[in-house]
């Protein structure tokens, strides 16, 4: 389809406020449109809406009329050394033009080599050369889309030798150099911190708060001593605690509940988002109390 044929949204997009939203997945589409649950925004995986037509796009058109929408990509391979896939980018731009989302995001990772995709969020070596490479590609993507994006830290199960900086330095520098924002996944920080034995608090303190545009929360699973980012369970108590700590440093941020496998009922998902809002209010009260205590 030519660029000219991309559907131009007829209404302005709704904003994504500093409240909790949910990841909207296809098993919930019909119920979501019928019940119109009390969440202020939703996030969808961009690639699930790359089709030329059909029901999925109609659902998204309906959702965006009443809810803020964030498009979250999982397949662009920003850190890959294969050329950026022009067809993938073309479909992403067409979708962005159709939806006019409040946020567009991708991952600080790679997915393919020599044209073979593992369709996973693979970790990068945290080197200056890799940083230059990824920053250039993020810049190219933003130029093509005509708007800034957010880049998300991934969970990882290995680290490469020869790292020249920490992951949080890499992500922060990437955002500064590329002029993009950060999607801070608190569960991913927790998972990686446990897997690689670093203090999660160091990660939070090392991220430039002013560049964080969104926060992700999800569940994980322990397998043989390693935490796996499965998105198949409720947010754990430890991750809630880290989330509160994050918000005390970052201030209010749009926060997404991600749940992709063993999907619960829509009601359960919305309840998890309500819990995130409660946790956020608790964190801000603590932060204000801290300020008051210091002033006193």
């Amino acid at each position: 389809m030519s660029q000219a044929s991309a559907t131009v949204p007829v209404t302005a997009s709704r904003p994504v406020p500093a409240q909790a939203g949910i990841g909207l997945r296809s098993p919930h589409h019909d119920e979501f449109l019928t019940r119109r649950p009390a969440v202020s925004w939703v996030e969808v995986h961009s690639e699930n809406f790359f089709a030329d037509g059909g029901r999925q796009l109609q659902v998204l058109d309906a959702v965006r009329r009443d809810y803020g929408v964030s498009l979250h990509g999982v397949g662009l391979s920003l850190g890959g050394t294969d050329p950026l896939d022009p067809e993938h980018l073309r479909r992403l731009r067409r979708l962005v033009q159709r939806v006019d989302p409040a946020l567009v995001s991708e991952h600080v990772c790679w997915s393919s080599a020599d044209g073979i995709f593992l369709n996973d969020l693979l970790p990068l070596p945290y080197t200056e050369a890799a940083l230059r490479h990824v920053a250039a590609r993020v810049g190219a993507v933003q130029e093509y889309l005509g708007r800034p994006i957010l880049v998300e830290n991934v969970s990882s199960y290995l680290e490469f030798e020869g790292a020249e900086m920490t992951e949080w330095d890499f992500v922060g520098q990437l955002a500064r150099r590329a002029g993009c924002g950060i999607l801070l996944d608190v569960n991913n920080i927790y998972v990686s911190a446990e897997n690689h034995a670093f203090p999660a608090q160091n990660y939070l303190r090392g991220i430039p708060a002013e560049l964080v545009g969104e926060v992700h929360l999800a569940g994980h699973t322990a397998v043989d001593g390693i935490l796996i980012d499965t998105h198949s369970a409720p947010v754990t108590d430890a991750v809630w605690a880290l989330y509160r700590e994050a918000l005390r440093l970052l201030g209010p941020k749009p926060t997404l509940i991600e749940w992709d496998a063993d999907l619960p009922s829509l009601e359960r998902l919305v309840a998890e988002a309500a819990t995130a809002d409660l946790q956020a209010r608790s964190a801000w009260r603590d932060a204000e109390g801290g300020v008051h205590a210091r002033v006193a």
Binding site: M1, E47, F50, A51, D52, G53, G54, R55, G73, V74, G75, L76, S77, G80, T81, P83, L84, D85, P86, E87, H88, L89, R90, R91, W110, S111, S112, A113, D114, G115, I116, F117, L118, N119, D120, L122, L124, P125, T127, A129, A130, R132, H133, A136, R137, A140, V141, Y144, Y157, L158, E159, F160, E161, G162, H196, A197, V223, G225, I226, I228
Partner: protein, 272 residues
């Protein structure tokens, strides 16, 4: 399209990523382990997590796209098939939709002439369904008033357009029955050798399969191939030339023919 920033490609990064992918899929680049921090857990075990993730993601994508094939062979055999297919035809894109594109051909290469021969047609059917789901919407129904207004001297050059989601399929096996059984939640029988022609298309309520007679298939195939009205008639047997009008009415009424072009016109609208 943005110029890919080739100049900043780092050769060691490229080599690392190549080795990583090959070790995950083919276990033929063990040298990548030397570049992985052990930190309490060996590199091979850490790589195995990514191997499991890659297998799982790929298999789940195939299961979603080929539920009838899954029902035919069972979950264990399907996972085995998925891994063999993934290693032979790995995912070519960041969008998982494309993972199943080469599965019918892979099966044709591996099970043709065996007792699993029917699985080739099952996979062809399910990929046609995927393409139909992915296809563009049609702007509108056929404009009958515009069609009636086509001057007689241009009617022979009329070219009808099918809805973009329409797929016309010729099968060696009767796959309609197994498809219907699965849709109804009944036990799925294996397809038996018996040629069958199906029209696959997307409706508002979902995918519809429709058995096609030989005349319908021949005419619709000609139309989809871009034949003019005269040429589409020529695709029919000599004895069936009188059927042309009935065919057109049937498929316009069914919403399968959704537009037309002729000299100076497109989709029922006159081009200035």
């Amino acid at each position: 399209m943005p110029a890919s920033p080739e100049a900043v490609r780092d050769s060691s990064l490229k080599e690392l990523q190549r080795q990583f992918v090959r070790e995950v899929l083919y276990r033929d680049s063990p040298e990548v382990a030397a570049q992985i921090v052990a930190n309490g857990l060996g590199a091979e075990r850490r790589l195995a997590i990514y191997r499991t993730n890659a297998q799982e993601t790929f298999a789940l994508a195939l299961e979603a796209a080929f539920p009838l094939l899954l029902a035919c062979v069972g979950p264990k055999e399907f996972r085995s098939l998925a891994w063999a297919y993934q290693r032979a035809c790995p995912s070519p894109a960041g969008n998982l939709f494309h993972t199943g594109r080469r599965l019918p051909g892979f099966l044709a290469d591996h099970v043709r002439g065996t007792p699993d021969d029917d699985l080739i047609d099952v996979a062809r059917l399910e990929w046609a369904v995927q393409e139909s789901l992915w296809a563009a919407d049609s702007d509108s129904a056929l404009d009958l008033a515009a069609l009636a207004a086509v001057p007689a001297e241009h009617q022979a050059e009329l070219r009808f357009l099918l809805h973009p989601s329409v797929r016309l399929m010729r099968f060696e096996y009767g796959v309609f029955g197994p498809w219907e059984a699965r849709q109804a939640g009944k036990p799925v029988p294996r397809a038996v050798a018996s040629p069958e022609n199906l029209l696959v298309r997307r409706l508002a309520a979902g995918i519809q399969l429709q058995k096609l007679g030989q005349l319908d298939l021949l005419w619709l195939e000609a139309v989809q191939g871009g034949a003019s009205l005269v040429d589409s008639a020529a695709a029919l047997p000599e004895t069936a030339q009188d059927e042309l009008g009935a065919l057109l009415v049937r498929w316009v009424t069914a919403g399968v023919v959704t537009g037309f072009t002729t000299k100076g016109q497109s989709a029922g609208k006159v081009l200035e």
